[in-house]
Amino acid sequence: MLSRAADNLFWMARHIERAESTARLITMGQRMAVLPGSAHRDEWRSVLQVTGCANRVEGGGLTTEDDIVRILLLDPENPVSIHACLVQARANAKSVRTKLTQEMWEALNLSWRRLEGYPVEAARNELPALLDWVKSRAAIFRGAAETGMLRHAGFSFIRLGGGLERAQMTLRLLDVKYFVLLPETDVVGGGRDHYQWTSVLHALSGSRAYHHVYGAAYSPANIADFLMVNRMFPRSVAYCVDQMSAHLERLAQEHGQETRSRATARELAALLNQGRDGALFRGGLHEAVQACLALTNRLALEIAEAYHF
């Protein structure tokens, strides 16, 4: 397939995944911002940090929900805003129209301009409904790909883009929130930390799944384990890496060539594997997350290089 097509499929999936992840993050921010005492802790700032948008708020004041709606939902100029991601995903899709099924295209083409010129005030009032809408667009798109798309190389590039973006979102979330998962907070305990952990799980739609695996009690170690090394939870880093490895292997076979990206995926898997006996976190959660982030960044570059994007 054309390299440009592969590139666009990869990025189309990343943009959709990013739009959905950002919607989940904003939902998490809303939960945390209504906690007692949150007014002077600037919970929204961490949401901006996860998305790399902290520098988009001027001045030293508290970040407000208005800021979030403006920057992360509506701003067409901010490349990581939900609006920009939806527009970008559709532009990617349009340039590879022939590689998509009718349903996949429709999922992106329907109401792609909905957020254009949306007033901040109105968006704030309808925020939960808008975020649900974003999540449902992403779900419909994925469903259409899952049930209708030929399993040719293009499907693998979509899965690689989606997997990479999802792994990175989980990692960035952990990176910003790692301090609440530090062992010390076990001692501090208390309602707020408990709420913070559950918020992180909620942001990744993992709170019920967590209980299925670890029982009723929250512990920082288990949460870190769940989000990083658990191989059943579809938003864990390890799960995403498993998926990407499978598609990289398939692409390598189809193209009859070994790639550096596969070695990097193996390295990442091995690193996460150490997490099973706690070795991953011995040097600190923050360091482990940073190491994984660096490897996923390298992986993205190597995929582009191997397939001539």
């Binding site: 054309l2 340039s95 129209r97 022939t98 295209w105 397939y307």
Partner: protein, 469 residues
């Protein structure tokens, strides 16, 4: 008084429209309008849109679709089919002549100046014969009708005529929504157009091609107004849709960049203007295009469809001479007549046009899409005066034709069936053999009395039926 195609002179419904009449009667106007909304929703959802240049609002507008089909009887199509093929053949013969011995100019039938000093003429093509001597592989001929027996050619499109996707989609949506209309099989199918197009393209594979030809469709990109059509056709033919950046030239051949490395390309159905094909050959200032493409073409490494320079045959100044071409190259009388045309570039023509501008339709020779034209009877004295000034400043740039009493076709209005002016564009395919699917694109002016059918000016489209027996 315009000829209404649905009725015979006595005002009775013509037999080829009997099925349509029965359907309108059974469904009722309310029902039809309701189904029209459904059709528009489907078009919007699947993204059949048309980008309009230089206008505000929705950048991807929907072309209005009219539910009532336009019908040609078997006898009418027999005439059209013969006339269209004849014209496509003569135009290709003319192109070969222009780029070789120029016999028709030597014979004094077409002024040399008009050809060799025409901006659409490509001296780079002189002496080169493309595979099968085909220059224009898809000839779109715009035809209007002024009476029961009177079909006339409005203009020819020899470069990259667009709109065929609407022919296919209009039929598709009609079949999907009203399967009963087609169940008797009297309407001849058009859905084999993509496979016929692919066959035609494969037939002109270059000498360097060994084995099954690799055909691609070259688009300027997703921002082009016809991008939907490009992706639609590539999809139906099962070929790659490429942009200039996907191609490169090496060792006399064209290669596309794939995830598995470079892959040779044999035939390029290009939907890009000559100017932007190859900066080394045509426009050195262009950042677009594929450097070296033209050299690969001339040395037999790849085939370009249509050939660079094919536009000389559909130039509005050359149009006047197409009947002469048919007589000269084929030794036949034209089946389809031209519309009488005055060329402002000649002294007599200029004088006549300036004196009668209020009665004529004047056009820019190099314009398209209905832009830059004057419809005399509809224009104000100020507009006519201003247009006359433009003609005087550059007489060669303009032609004028009489205002025709174009035929009308049944169209769905808010309160019932109304009569609207229409034209017709069939797509004739030229490879080793000539192919013509029974049908084409009918464009219709949606406002009462309007003669402008261009989609960029508010025209709509409708399904076109050619009846079997």
């Amino acid at each position: 008084m315009s000829f209404f195609e649905m009725h015979d002179p006595a005002g009775e419904v013509r037999s080829c429209y009997a099925e349509v009449q029965r359907w309108i009667h059974e469904t009722g106007v309310e029902g039809l309008r309701h189904r029209l909304e459904e059709a528009e929703t489907i078009f919007r959802r699947i993204g059949i849109t048309f980008a309009v240049y230089g206008e505000g609002g929705d950048p991807e507008r929907l072309i209005p679709f009219d539910l009532l089909p336009r019908v040609f009887s078997r006898q009418e199509w027999r005439v059209l089919d013969r006339g269209i093929r004849q014209r496509a053949q003569a135009l290709n013969a003319f192109l070969h002549d222009v780029y070789h011995r120029g016999e028709i100019m030597r014979a004094g039938l077409i002024p040399e100046d008009l050809v060799y000093r025409n901006p659409a003429f490509r001296p780079e093509m002189l002496g080169f014969s493309p595979p099968g001597r085909v220059y224009s592989h898809i000839v779109g001929i715009d035809i209007v009708r002024t009476g029961p027996e009177a079909f006339q050619v409005l203009e020819d499109n020899c470069r990259t005529p667009s709109g065929v996707s609407y022919m296919l989609e209009n039929r598709e949506i009609m079949t999907r929504m009203f399967p009963g209309l087609f169940s008797q099989g009297r309407v001849r199918p058009v859905d084999n157009y993509p496979s016929q197009l692919l066959d035609s393209l494969k037939e002109v594979a270059p000498p360097a091609c060994k084995g099954e030809p690799e055909v691609v469709l070259l688009t300027p990109g997703a921002l082009n107004s016809a991008y939907y059509e490009h992706s639609f056709l590539a999809d139906l033919m099962g070929i790659e849709l490429v942009e200039p950046g996907d191609l490169m030239v090496d060792d006399g051949r064209v290669w596309m960049k794939t995830t598995a490395g470079l892959k040779a390309v044999d035939v390029i159905y290009r939907r890009i203007d000559d100017d932007f094909l190859d900066p080394l050959a045509f426009r050195p200032d262009s950042m677009l295009g594929i450097p070296g493409l033209f050299h690969a073409y001339r040395s037999g490494g790849v085939t370009l469809c249509s050939a660079p320079g094919a536009g000389i045959a559909d130039d509005k100044a050359i149009y006047v001479y197409v009947p002469e071409m048919i007589r000269f190259y084929l030794g036949e009388e034209p089946v389809l007549a031209n519309i009488p045309t005055w060329q402002c570039g000649t002294p007599d023509g200029l004088e006549y046009v300036l004196a009668h501008l209020g009665e004529l339709v004047a056009k820019e020779v190099h314009g398209s899409g209905g832009y830059g034209m004057l419809i005399g009877p509809r224009a104000s004295p100020e507009e006519i005066a201003a247009y006359a000034g433009r003609i005087r400043a550059n007489p060669r740039g303009y032609i004028a034709q009489p205002t025709l009493a174009l035929s009308t076709v049944p169209t769905l209005g808010p309160a019932g069936v109304v009569e609207r002016h229409a034209d017709f564009r069939p797509y004739c395919l030229v490879g080793k053999t000539m192919r013509l699917v029974p049908g084409g694109l009918t464009r219709v002016a949606l406002s009462e009395g309007s003669l402008v059918v261009n989609s960029s000016q508010g025209g709509g489209v409708k399904d076109t039926w050619v009846m079997g027996d």
